[in-house]
Symmetry: C2
Subunit: 340 residues, 2 copies
Amino acid sequence: MSVAKPSIHDVATLAEVSKSLVSLALMGSPKVGEESRTKILKAAKTLGYRRNAAARTLSAKRSKTIGVLVLDLHNPVFAEILDGVQIEMRKNGFTTMLVSGGEDPVLEQSDIDTLLQFQIEGLILISHRLATERLALIAAEVPTVVVTRSDIQLPAMDTISNDDVAGTGLAVDYLVKLGHSKIICLSGGENPTSKSRVQGYLRAMERNHLSDAAEVVVGGLSDAAGYAAATQALKMNPTALVVANDLAAMGAIAAIQEAGLVVPDDVSVIGYDGIAIGALKNVNLTTVSQPLAELGTLAATRLVERINNPKEPAKQLKVSAELLVRGTTSEPIKTTGLAN
Amino acid sequence: MSVAKPSIHDVATLAEVSKSLVSLALMGSPKVGEESRTKILKAAKTLGYRRNAAARTLSAKRSKTIGVLVLDLHNPVFAEILDGVQIEMRKNGFTTMLVSGGEDPVLEQSDIDTLLQFQIEGLILISHRLATERLALIAAEVPTVVVTRSDIQLPAMDTISNDDVAGTGLAVDYLVKLGHSKIICLSGGENPTSKSRVQGYLRAMERNHLSDAAEVVVGGLSDAAGYAAATQALKMNPTALVVANDLAAMGAIAAIQEAGLVVPDDVSVIGYDGIAIGALKNVNLTTVSQPLAELGTLAATRLVERINNPKEPAKQLKVSAELLVRGTTSEPIKTTGLAN
DNA sequence: ACCTTTCGTTGGAACGTTCCAACAACTATG
DNA sequence: CATAGTTGTTGGAACGTTCCAACGAAAGGT
């Protein structure tokens, strides 16, 4: 238990220089003489000195810190996006402060408040539920990049996303090509991303002249929600399910198997996101895959650009999603002679 | 784009009181008069005032912030532990700063440095790889709680964990009871938790007089690592696999199926952790389950206790793990007449 | 030999808060 | 009616840094 944390001042006295020079040396300024530099570094080490970020932020009027808000850490999607963000931010000398909103949307706002109190210089929002007006307010205060939301366009805010409408369309088109027509969509609930995906489903059904057969069952983004929604959907005897995300799709598959049906023979399933676990041979999930790490890297790069050059106009970047056909899709079995 | 962030001073002038009173009011002190309080709150609102955490920390000499370091956000285990931590910390008025070390153990140390620079009042380490001496150093600087590591005992540091040795023993004992003897352990690599689990395996094998049959294949904690390790292990024709964690177990199952074998008929598999996804009917993983959220809550509670009362002695808390028998384990098929 | 530049260094102000001692204006106490 | 206490409020110091203007010393140019 050290008595009191050493300050820059203590280092200065030990190294027999001024505190200003210590500060300079610690920031790696080239103006510091070789001799003093080594003396200072040695003194800092022996004292176990550590910079005080609070004082630094206060004085320098910049925190070299950005905030990240993710909706839900349980979904591996976010971890994969975060990887990209963290790597890029570290490269640029920023600290990343991560908060996860949890279930309550009110907490989400209070989390952002906390981040802003820490004087973050930029904010990355990953798959959140904030309303457009709130977003506008936030973007006016701090450079903001929104990842994973294709529904929104604000002049002061970058967005990095795939086209959820088009992506879901890919899934539906493929199923139709295989011969499916009784295709049910399991939605991800009330968040913007899920809404876009439902819209993509509806549009694609329309374009394939299947509007009458279109059916949306409200679910959620977790495996449990997918399970519940699928149980519901199965009552309508679909031959294929287009599910809000991979996690929910895995839940849906569980429900299908539990009902004594076989995937994909009786029911085909397509997820969305392309999480790593879906590639496992025993899951083998057909999915619309987004380049997740790239999403994160792009977000970070954009944010750093905006921070370093505030008049930089906001951009809307799209990454392309692609259909990854694996084992949970096949042609529907012919109408008569059902397996079960 | 506001011109400059309003400070407590601006609020004071607008509300026609002193900055000290504004500070008091914002902290919710009961000493502030009703009239002034409303005036101040109104002024703060119209100005869009927000506390500056850096200044606050610097002046008050406490940050009301704790740091959490997790090994790997990809594993849902950590999200579930984190849930518990976050909820408890919010209850106690602390902000949680989360960093994830990523692959590189050197980064892990630098992440802790960053946290300490932010003047965190406490630190929770979830499944990390730090050496005992480093831990001792850290624990001397800041109240520290280590979650998910049963191998270590330091006087100045709380640990919350299940007994990995005993837990893995549960798995082995059950397999032996089912009639297995060719049981291979897929280790999780060089981290302390994994080492304890391997030790548990070895001890249990010994206790069941199967030391000669004991075999450890080095793997890792990801699904991919489990897949690779299982591929290796299958060459030795095991009838059961005890795997380092659930994620790796899922990878192992993929490898088994890919080899044309059936789980559990040909090979039984037991994981460790009890992640939510393992309960899905199509995964249905037998596992040694720990109460994850409880682990998090306990850690947070202990940390707050230690922060509020620094002379509080450190404790070593154990939660109990239990074997969750699901669908990936069965009796071994009889020696002759293999299914495949 | 002088002036100018460069190099390394310095003290002090500033950042936005909290905390403390002090105070005025009341209210209660004997 | 004086004294003591209470309530609400205040200015100033402090927290540990960064930044700036200014400095002496050494080096370079004429």
